[in-house]
Every structure is written in structure tokens, then in C-alpha cells.
């Protein structure tokens, strides 16, 4: 669920000409405030950030991507994203989308002390999980991270995947076992959140449309 071997099939299938880098330690979060994905950062020729991390899709918006961007960012910005990038490529610092360093810092993710504490709990959870599996201690650190930063989906997916992998006996032949997001068939669920609860909390209308457990039908 982290590291080169998980990413390798995707990177090799894409056969891209750009570098593909691996972030095992959630460095992108600590260094730049990248929590959920997809997020994009613009960096100019002098290694200076001109747009901080923001939900973005550099791909043309297809039907599947459309649903995703509705969840992660403002629709109108995402639809124009490719045009924004091209404008920056053509006009550099004169592009109206390129921001000053002060604007970049001000627009970067808010990081109150609770976010730093969440990151520390998450790192402990990850570290201990690799050492001892999904122990009560590990679950407690995951839950602390989820409580301190409820909108960090990455922290949650990693915890849910750890649970799924531990219950599959580490057998994950098709790679989908780890894609667990909520309790299935009344199974015991040790985390304070799950995908259905979060959708009801953060996207109540969509949750109702999808008829998720706990959603109020209109």
C-alpha cells in the first residue's frame, strides 16, 4: 500500500516520459500539505512554487473523472484546468494563474497544531503496523489521526486497507482486497469513521442519491 512495488505496474503501463517518484513516507503531505489526491503543484524554472497543492486533474474531464472532481474540487476550475496550465506555460509569471510567493503560502493548506498531531499519530500507526500488524495500539493511532483531521481521506484509506489486508491473510491476488472502505456484512469495524459515514457527513445529498446507509432520503 506504499512503495515502488504497488506503483510499478501503473507507472510501467503508462510508459510516461516524465519522472515518476515514490513517496513512502507521506513526505508530500509534510513538505507541501498534499493530503488527498489527485493534487497538483506548479513549480517554475527556479524551483519556486507558483501554485500550491490544489485538487486538480490535468486530464480532460471524462464521465468518471467528472464524478471525482465534483467530490474533490470546484467544478468550474477543474474544467478549465488544462487551459490554466497552458496559459502558464505560454506566459510564465505573467500568467494570471501564477501566484506570488506570499499568495502561494497564504493559499497553502491550513495547518493548525491538530494537523501536525494527526500526522504524528498516522506515522506512528504506519510504523507500528509494519512491525506488529494491526494491533489495538495501531488502531488507536489511526483513530486519533482520523479524529484530528477528519477530511484527510488518505489517512482513512490507509487504515481501511490495513484492515482489509490483515483480514485477507495477506492474500491479495487481484489487488482489490485492500480497496475496503466500509464494514461489509456487519463485520466488526475498529475505526471511528468509514466511507459511508463520511459521505453522509460531508456529502449528504450525494449520499442520499447513492442510498448509503445512514443517509436521509429526500
Amino acid at each position: 500500500m506504499a512503495g515502488p512495488e504497488v506503483a510499478r505496474p501503473f507507472v510501467e503501463a503508462a510508459a510516461s516520459s516524465h519522472p515518476s517518484l515514490i513517496d513512502r513516507t507521506h513526505y508530500m503531505d509534510a513538505r507541501f500539505g498534499v493530503t488527498n489526491i489527485p493534487q497538483v503543484i506548479w513549480i517554475d524554472e527556479n524551483s519556486t512554487i507558483v501554485r500550491p497543492p490544489e485538487p486538480a486533474s490535468p486530464m480532460p474531464v471524462g464521465a468518471a473523472a467528472l464524478q471525482m472532481v465534483q467530490l474533490v474540487g470546484r467544478m468550474e476550475e477543474r474544467e478549465h484546468y488544462v487551459a490554466m496550465v497552458k496559459d502558464w506555460v505560454d506566459n510564465g509569471s505573467d500568467s494570471r494563474y501564477a501566484l506570488s510567493p506570499d499568495q502561494v503560502m497564504a493559499r497553502s493548506q491550513a495547518r493548525p497544531p491538530a494537523i501536525s498531531e494527526a500526522a504524528a499519530h498516522f506515522e506512528l500507526a504506519q510504523h507500528l503496523w509494519r512491525r506488529e500488524g494491526l494491533s489495538d495500539k495501531v488502531v488507536a493511532h489511526f483513530n486519533a489521526a482520523h479524529e484530528l483531521q477528519p477530511d484527510n481521506i488518505t489517512y482513512k484509506r490507509q487504515a481501511y486497507s490495513a484492515l482489509a489486508v490483515s483480514r485477507s491473510g495477506d492474500q491479495d491476488p487481484d489487488g482489490w482486497t485492500r480497496f475496503r472502505q466500509a464494514p461489509q456484512g456487519g463485520e466488526d469495524w475498529p475505526f471511528i469513521s468509514d466511507f459511508n459515514k463520511d459521505m453522509v457527513r460531508f456529502q449528504p445529498e450525494l449520499a442520499a442519491r447513492l442510498k448509503l446507509p445512514g443517509a436521509e432520503s429526500k
Binding site: 489527485p38 503560502m105 501536525s116
Partner: protein, 110 residues
């Protein structure tokens, strides 16, 4: 960053967090945060930088969270210290792309 003791040195701190300890304080690019006199102390540096320190008594570990200077994730727009390994473990520094615009896309294969 995870440590099994609190008396780590300035070099280890820099390697894990990117904050370099200089005579003027803990520095990243143009930003320097003054530290107490008397040599590097992890707890004091973490406090000044707004980094949470969470302990796990058994087996005796501490995790240090990222800085919270100014209440924002970015304390500087300078990204020249960015580096991550590629698939084969080779470190890739962003400075190798100096002179080019870079679109840094974060994704994950769930």
C-alpha cells in the same frame, strides 16, 4: 519523523524534516526560526517550529509531525530542497529540472 530517543543531532533532524540548523536558528530557504541557545534540542526545536511530538511508550517511540508556522502548510514558496526516489530507489532532486516548468502531480494506485 520517527525516533526512538529524543537526543538526536541536528543532522538527523535536518535529514528527516528538511530544516537545517544554523547559528541563526532552524532554516529552510529564506525562513529561519530562532532556537534556544545551548546546542540542538529536539523538543525545543519542535516547539519553536510548531511540530507536534506524540509518544508511544511501548516500544518507546516518538513521532514528530510537520511544522505549523503561520498556520499554513507552506512556510516558503521555495521548493528547491524537494527530492524523492524513483522506482529503482534513485534520488531525484527537483533542482535537476532547473530551467523547466514542473507540474508535480500527486496520485496513488488504490
Amino acid at each position: 519523523m520517527i525516533v526512538d530517543r529524543l537526543d538526536i543531532g541536528a543532522e538527523e533532524f535536518q535529514q528527516a524534516t528538511g530544516w537545517e540548523i544554523k547559528p541563526e536558528g532552524a532554516c529552510r530557504a529564506e525562513v529561519c526560526v530562532p532556537l534556544p541557545d545551548g546546542g540542538f534540542d529536539l523538543s525545543a526545536a519542535a516547539h519553536r517550529l510548531g511540530m507536534a511530538v506524540v509518544s508511544e511508550p511501548s516500544p518507546g517511540l516518538w513521532a514528530v509531525g510537520p511544522e505549523t508556522l503561520g498556520g499554513r502548510a507552506l512556510a516558503t514558496a521555495d521548493a528547491s530542497d524537494f527530492r524523492l526516489p524513483d522506482l529503482d530507489g534513485n534520488e531525484f532532486p527537483i533542482t535537476s529540472l532547473r530551467g523547466h516548468k514542473v507540474l508535480l502531480v500527486a496520485w496513488a494506485p488504490y
